[in-house]
């Protein structure tokens, strides 16, 4: 049996899965479901949850435990980890919010403005860097609160997707 801890917005889900005779027997916060999964194309699959048909598309987002789920016309951000890991983390008093120590360029473009400097304390959602791509200015905001350790680019720098823009402490 596998046990996972999944967070969607402010809701936490304790999920157990057992795979037998080509079916999953799942419990979600204690509620039992029988699920079959048929893979479709990469990342997509057809789930039958107690015979309810649901086509889902799961792909990892920003690496780590973040997953983006697309189903029923909506996109849903989730994060998943092994239950045991989540327990240890909670015992250590670390919130489930994953903190990146690097900010990478989400797209190729031109850095046109840097709104922070090293040593700055930033809040979640605070604008950090402005990158121009496709003739549009895109404001890259902090995904979490933190302290800027170093800014690795300058205004006028051309960046490729994935280049390190700045580091957090």
């Amino acid at each position: 049996m596998s046990r996972y801890h999944v967070v969607v917005d402010d809701k936490e889900f304790d999920i157990t899965l057992e795979y037998r005779s080509e079916q999953f027997v799942a419990t979600v916060n204690g509620r039992r479901y029988v699920v079959t999964q048929t893979p479709l194309t990469e990342g997509r699959s057809l789930l039958l949850i107690d015979n309810e048909s649901l086509e889902v598309d799961v792909h990892s987002h920003n690496g780590g435990g973040e997953r983006r789920v697309f189903m029923a016309g909506v996109e849903i951000l989730t994060s998943i980890e092994d239950y045991a890991v989540a327990q240890m983390r909670k015992a250590a008093g670390i919130s489930h919010v994953r903190t990146d120590d690097m900010l990478n360029a989400p797209m190729p473009g031109l850095v046109v403005d840097i709104k922070v400097k090293s040593g700055d304390k930033v809040a979640k959602g605070q604008p950090l860097i402005v990158v121009e791509a496709m003739k549009m200015e895109n404001i890259i905001k902090a995904k979490h609160a933190g302290v800027i350790k170093a800014v690795r680019v300058q205004a006028g720098t051309s960046v490729e997707k994935g280049d390190i823009l700045l580091e957090f402490e």
Binding site: K11, L54, G109
Partner: protein, 511 residues
């Protein structure tokens, strides 16, 4: 005298190139596509009859280079050029160049484009044709003292706009006198860098207007029609995202008044071809002339759905010199159509463009659904161009049916590999104000001030949690459940082989 077009070059890419190629196919016209290095395997290149490379990916080295487009037209023997929208479509110099080279430019005459492209000249033309204008300066306002005097007489808030403007560039809302000077000069600077023309002018700022536009169609023989309106109030950064026809507030009497105004400026400017006259409609239902777009609009399909008229075919017929086959009384608005623009953008991240390859791409279908898509599965979304990948259009007998079909279609639409605005649109379709037709150009900022476009039920959250758990388990244990996946892969490759065989026969084995 009419000149039948046998070969037509499409100076564009993406969904609009595909749309025009389809019209060519319907008419038996040979379609010529052009493509940049980034688009070598693009959908429009696959569909066209003949294709010509026009250089490197950046549009200022390819799709915007007049010489390269003209050269491709000459080499291919095309008689006409359809510019689509964007790129060279409203470039008077390019239209003139086509005229001089003996090529048919599918659009109005170059002098009409020049006249209406200059916002100040367009305002003067509208005034002469008796169209209602928003209170403003009909002179360029670069002299600060004079401009301030005008701003005071109009009354704050005022809107500073670029004479050569478009797309919100060089535009500023000024709420009070204090910020006037600064806004005026920053708008002028932005206009200078965007359009090479620093002229700006002033307009009274309407607080919560609707954007409603009239589709017009004029032939070379002085006949001019209006094909009903489109409401495009739902905008983000001055870019339309959802459009519909008819407007929820329209009445036949109102439509006739607005239509006559649109035809008035068309006649006043010697307009030929398909065009759009844009208006702002105030809360008291007064309407004001905004501008004329001298090209096919992105949102033209909603008009096609409710009138049954193929606008691209009409454009080509007009360019051939044919008379319009319809009279104003023949135009009937039937049912309701809504369009959602599907962008490769991430609504959760400030609508940041999302690039990459489409790993899966399944478009919706069924009653009342039309998808004008510029991509197929496997397509790369390059960084160089507008990130709109498709337009989803739903038609219904009324607005309620169109909306429910749109919801169904959005739920059927599956894209992976890039982020898209599908989920964003799905949320809007449930918005109470949208459902009630209570629209204004400030709809999005008023309804979603914190830019969060989702409303999830706990049931959906639970389903999503279960889905990621199963995904993780299956990936880690590499479970190939049943052999459904294998069977599908096998049948696909069989199909591919059959398709290739058919393909070989069709093209005489030359590829």
């Amino acid at each position: 005298m009419t000149t039948p077009i046998r070969k037509l070059l499409i100076a564009n890419r993406g969904e609009i190139a595909v749309r025009i190629i389809r019209a060519c196919r319907d008419l038996g016209i040979r379609s010529i596509a052009v493509y940049s290095d980034a688009d070598a395997a693009a959908f429009h290149v696959r569909l066209a009859d003949e294709v010509y490379n026009i250089g490197p990916a950046p549009s200022n080295q390819s799709y915007l280079v007049q010489d390269k487009i003209i050269e491709a037209a000459k080499r291919s023997g095309a008689q006409a050029i359809h510019p689509g929208y964007g790129f060279l479509s409203e470039n008077a110099a390019f239209a003139k160049r086509c005229e001089d080279e003996g090529l048919i430019f599918i659009g109005p005459k170059s002098e009409t484009i020049a006249l209406l492209g200059d916002k100040l000249a367009a305002r003067a033309t509208a005034l002469k044709a008796g169209l209602p204008l928003i209170k403003g300066s009909d002179i360029e306002s670069t002299n600060l003292a004079a401009a301030l005097k005008i701003a005071r007489s109009i009354g704050f808030p005022v809107l500073v706009k670029a004479a050569a403007g478009g797309g919100g560039k060089g535009m500023r809302v000024v709420n009070d006198e204090e910020l006037f000077e600064e806004s005026l000069s920053s708008a002028a600077n932005e206009a200078k860098s965007a359009f090479g023309d620093s002229r700006v002018y002033l307009e009274k700022y309407l607080a919560r207007p609707r954007h409603i536009e009239m589709q017009i169609l004029c032939d070379q023989h002085g006949n001019c029609l209006y094909l009903g309106e489109r409401e495009c109030s739902i905008q983000r950064r001055h870019q339309k995202v959802i459009e519909e026809s008819p407007s929820p507030i329209m009445t036949p009497e109102f439509r006739a008044r607005m239509g006559k105004a649109a035809v008035g400026i068309a006649r006043g400017s010697g307009y030929v071809g398909a065009g759009t006259v844009e208006f702002l409609v105030d809360e008291d239902k007064s309407f004001y002339f905004l501008e004329v777009n001298t090209r096919l609009q992105v949102e033209h399909p909603v008009t096609e759905m409710v009138t049954g008229i193929d606008l691209v075919k009409e454009q080509i017929a007009i360019a051939e010199g044919k008379k319009l086959s319809l009279a104003q009384d023949d135009i009937q608005i039937r049912g309701h159509a809504i369009e959602c623009r599907i962008y490769a953008e991430d609504p959760d991240n400030g609508f940041m463009p999302s690039t990459g390859a489409l790993k899966s791409y399944v478009v919706p279908a069924g009653p009342g659904i039309r998808v004008d898509s510029g991509v197929v599965v496997g397509s790369e979304i390059p960084i160089y161009y507008d990130p709109m990948i498709a337009k989803l259009i739903a038609w219904g007998k009324d607005r309620v049916e169109a909306t429910s079909r749109m919801k169904r279609a959005l739920e059927e639409y599956h894209v992976s590999g890039v982020e898209t605005t599908i989920g964003f649109h799905r949320v809007i379709m449930d918005n109470e104000k949208f459902v009630a037709g209570g629209l204004s150009t400030r709809f999005l900022e008023e309804e979603y001030p914190d830019n969060v476009y989702r409303h999830l039920t706990d049931e959906l959250r639970e389903r999503a949690a279960l889905a990621v758990a199963i995904d993780k388990y299956a990936r880690e244990r590499k479970i190939a459940v049943g052999n459904g996946g294998m069977a599908e892969a096998a049948s696909r490759s069989n199909w591919k082989q059959t398709y290739r065989r058919v393909g070989l026969r069709q093209f005489g084995g030359s590829r």
